[in-house]
């Protein structure tokens, strides 16, 4: 991990950098010491014009939230620094890395209750965290604190975060984020994922790629079979796809998670619990009679016992679903505070574009898709390419059979000539589509200049042209034998100096095939990141180009070119509509996925 500053640097007046801590949402974080010895964490963010209204979040004080001290701007440097509490311990991410099978029930519950208490305070003050993940939760001397909150709101004003942003994790992202919905339920969803990970060591929706994970978030039900029974209902409800079916407040969720026994949590300290939680817990204890008549007194009392903060894991009833069902009527009778209005407006790229202040190019789903594709490793790419190339052979065989049946048999050709032409058409299609598939695979994750790509494609096309003619000559084809009435191919063969006296020359084939491959953007049809699987219009356009470029007999060659385009589209799978929609949602919320 590389950092801009190192030990001894003082980019912000009054503080000396000691070391880089990590890269959090929006920027590098450093451990620094002030001139009088106060240890702080400094987060460097690009210029940020936080006005006083936005920075009210700086004044939230809660035991389970990392303290934000101040925000300072360096003069002339276009850097802003968020000065915050230094957490000397590990992040939950580190701890989960050390415990790949998850934590004990008590420790997991202790982490959950602390995180939930911090998040509840944010919600209570009208904020949504929006980026809850283990990397944003820290422990220091037993205190568990949530960090990186509210920054998206402050930093969304910055205009320099567009294409440079790396897409990070979407593992804790609620499905409705795709629709630009940033209610507090996205935090509840993330809490559900975190609770699952705390108990299990892995996350419920994982995959090789962001697209895969996002699709699972949208469509798959979590597998709770490995989760201890008392925790299942809470996770189940927090991970509902429909935000309206989730818990509507963090406290509701906390009430259905078994509280830990802090004697068994290896030094983790009690959180600053929300008063609503304590009140409702008291109420549910005091009024066991309100439980529904269907449930037995034994169940009701066990449910209440569960919620007691000191219940040890051994005493927990295993039949938790019944127990929680028994408690729900209890909660209905408790006066619940009306939810605080969430003032946090979804700061999507779209929103900024509409308001006219956002001028820089926003990310498109294709940018996200390319970043996603760039994570594929070499062996994966090779296997994808081999599959495409195999399909290309099949497609080419099919389309040359079609050309053979519809066109060649209607020409005045002997059966030997028909065979020769068929072989030629097949090899031209296979070679051309392979060439495009290979270059397309290499470029599928690059957004380089088109100019250089066209130049490369010219060279590729020239090589293909020479091959085409070479194969034609080997098959002893007579290139002047077939063409339609309105074709100017005979004229080309006759008049052009590039053609060697009635026969096309290698230079002719090289130049015109090269032009054919550089004028058309073939590579766009050989990447999964395209708007539709089949693009007939483009194939038609390619055929038109091939008509006007006298490469080979017309209309045979335009037909072959058009079919080659279709073969390439057939061979390269494209992202599904659902995947594209997810990439779009990631692109709209790029500022959220920073690692």
């Amino acid at each position: 991990m590389k950092f801009t500053y190192s030990t001894g640097d003082a980019p912000l007046d009054g503080y000396t950098i000691k070391r880089g801590l990590g890269r959090g949402g929006f920027g590098e974080v450093y451990f620094a010491v002030s001139d009088v010895g106060k240890e702080v964490a400094l987060k460097k963010v690009d210029f940020m014009d936080a006005d006083r209204g936005d920075s009210l979040i700086l004044n939230i004080n809660h035991q389970n939230l990392v303290l934000l001290f101040d925000i300072k701007h360096t003069e002339g440097q276009d850097e802003s620094w968020i000065i915050m509490e230094y957490m000397s311990g590990s992040s939950l991410r580190d701890i989960l890395t050390r415990h790949p099978d998850g934590l004990t029930e008590d420790e997991a519950a202790a982490w959950f209750f602390s995180i939930a208490s911090g998040v509840h305070r944010l919600h209570d003050n009208g904020y949504v965290h929006r980026d809850l993940k283990p990397g944003n939760v820290f422990v220091s001397e037993g205190h568990i604190k949530v960090g990186d909150y509210g920054l998206s709101k402050l930093i969304a004003h910055s205009q320099q975060h567009n294409n440079t942003r790396a897409i990070g994790t979407c593992r804790y992202m609620a499905p409705e984020i795709g629709q630009g919905n940033y209610g507090r339920q996205i935090d509840i969803y993330a809490l559900g994922i975190i609770l699952y990970e705390l108990l299990q060591g892995n996350i419920p929706f994982d995959g090789e790629s962001d697209a895969e994970i996002l699709t699972k978030h949208l469509t798959q039900e979590p597998n709770l079979s490995g989760i201890p029974a008392p925790f299942r209902p809470a996770i189940q409800k927090a991970l509902q796809k429909d935000p309206r079916k989730r818990y509507q407040s963090v406290v509701d969720m906390m009430l259905e998670v078994p509280a830990p026994n802090y004697q068994l949590t290896s030094g983790l300290l009690r959180p600053q619990l929300p008063s609503e939680y304590l009140e409702q817990l008291e109420d549910s204890k005091r009024e066991p009679a309100i439980t529904s008549p269907a449930s037995s007194p034994a169940e009701a009392s066990s449910a209440n016992q569960d919620a007691t903060p000191t219940t040890s894991s051994q005493k927990r009833p295993t039949d938790r679903p019944n127990a929680s069902a028994a408690r729900i009527p209890t909660l209905e009778n408790v006066p619940v505070r009306p939810p605080a209005p969430i003032t946090d407006r979804p700061a999507t790229a779209r929103y900024y574009r509409a308001s006219g202040t956002y001028r820089a190019r926003t990310k498109s789903w294709k940018d996200v898709a390319m970043e996603e594709l760039s994570t594929h490793d070499r062996s994966q790419k090779v296997s994808e390419l081999t599959a495409s190339m195999t399909r290309a052979v099949l497609g080419a065989a099919g389309s040359s059979a079609l050309i053979l049946g519809v066109y060649l048999t209607n020409q005045n050709l002997t059966s030997v000539q028909i065979t020769q032409w068929s072989i030629w058409i097949l090899s031209v299609m296979v070679l051309s589509s392979w060439a495009v598939l290979i270059t397309g695979k290499i470029w599928e994750s690059s957004a380089d200049e088109e100019g250089s790509k066209r130049l490369v494609m010219f060279a590729v096309g020239a090589g293909l042209g020479i091959l085409h003619l070479g194969i034609g000559n080997f098959l002893q084809l007579d290139f002047s034998s077939i063409h339609s009435e309105n074709s100017y191919w005979p004229w080309v063969l006759d008049k052009w100096k590039l053609s060697a006296g009635g026969e096309p020359s290698y230079i002719h084939f090289a130049i015109f095939t090269g032009l054919l491959f550089s004028l058309c953007r073939w590579w766009l049809h050989a990447t999964p990141a395209r708007s539709s699987r089949y693009d007939l219009l483009a194939a038609l356009m390619f055929a038109m180009v091939a008509w006007f470029l006298p490469v080979a007999p017309q209309p045979l060659m335009p037909g072959v070119v058009g079919f080659t385009a279709l073969v390439i589209q057939f061979s390269t799978p494209s992202f599904t509509v659902a995947q594209r929609r997810h990439f779009q949602s990631v692109a709209d919320t790029w500022w959220q996925h920073d690692q």
Binding site: K18, L21, T97, E141
Partner: protein
């Protein structure tokens, strides 16, 4: 008595090096020029801090005998503790060929919950308490006699460090759990080692050492910076 020989000033050695003819090769010449400029940089003495980006800050102690006690202005202890401990609370000594560590109590000390009255041999994983301070002693690498002290609970060192490294011959920084400093990441190992009173570093991949890239070996001073894609650290005077 200084048994390490490392904390003498190295200025004299350098002036003789300056007098030597610089090598012909231009890149080497640049390196030579830059390194000789280090005349003004102090060679490390018995204690220094190593700040490793994204990993931690460590107080490295080179002496074979280390005094532990309360952090006070002008205190002479090697490992100053911000804790309810005596000004001179215990001494840790490295002894013998094997580099065994022995703790000598100067005030109330317990090892593995047993109060000790006389010098006691420390074993890998031993829990030590000095007053309110809780420490864990580890000797992670089988081939190195360097050890590590981690402070548990609310006590801490002054200046703040994530752990104290008792360096004898080598310190190994890598992603293996048997290393003295463990980071989670690519397989890249950096070894700090002592030779002829110098502190050197050796890396199994090319690093940028004090602004000169492509290095795998070199001497470290106060203020030295080692940077690579996987691991970056700098040394600081205590």
């Amino acid at each position: 008595m200084n048994t390490t020989g490392i904390h003498r000033t190295r200025t004299n050695n350098f002036s003789t090096r300056v007098a030597a003819t610089p090598p012909e090769n231009s890149s080497v010449k640049h390196h030579y020029y830059f390194r000789t400029n280090k005349n003004i940089m102090k060679a490390v003495s018995e204690r220094f801090l190593v700040w490793i980006d994204a990993v931690g800050g460590y107080l490295v102690c080179l002496n074979d005998q280390l005094l532990l006690g309360q952090a006070r202005p002008n205190s002479q202890v090697d490992i100053p503790l911000v804790a309810d401990v005596s000004s001179r609370h215990a001494r840790i000594k490295r002894e013998g060929e094997e580099g065994d560590y022995v703790i000598e109590p100067l005030a109330e000390v317990t090892v593995q919950n047993k109060e000790i009255q006389s010098p006691t041999l420390l074993h890998h994983g031993d829990m030590i308490s000095l007053g309110s301070a809780q420490l864990r002693f580890t000797k992670p690498h089988p081939l190195s006699s360097s050890a590590r002290l981690d402070l548990l609970g609310s006590s801490r060192t002054s200046p703040f460090a994530d752990a104290v490294l008792l360096m004898s011959d080598t310190l190994i920084i890598g992603n293996n759990l048997a290393n003295h400093v463990v980071y989670h990441g690519e397989n890249h190992q950096v070894v700090l080692y002592r030779q002829d009173g110098q502190l050197l570093c050796r890396s199994d991949q090319q690093v940028n050492l004090d602004g000169v890239s492509g290095q795998t070996n070199g001497e470290l001073f106060y203020g030295s910076q080692v940077k690579s894609d996987h691991i970056s650290f700098s040394l600081e005077d205590v």
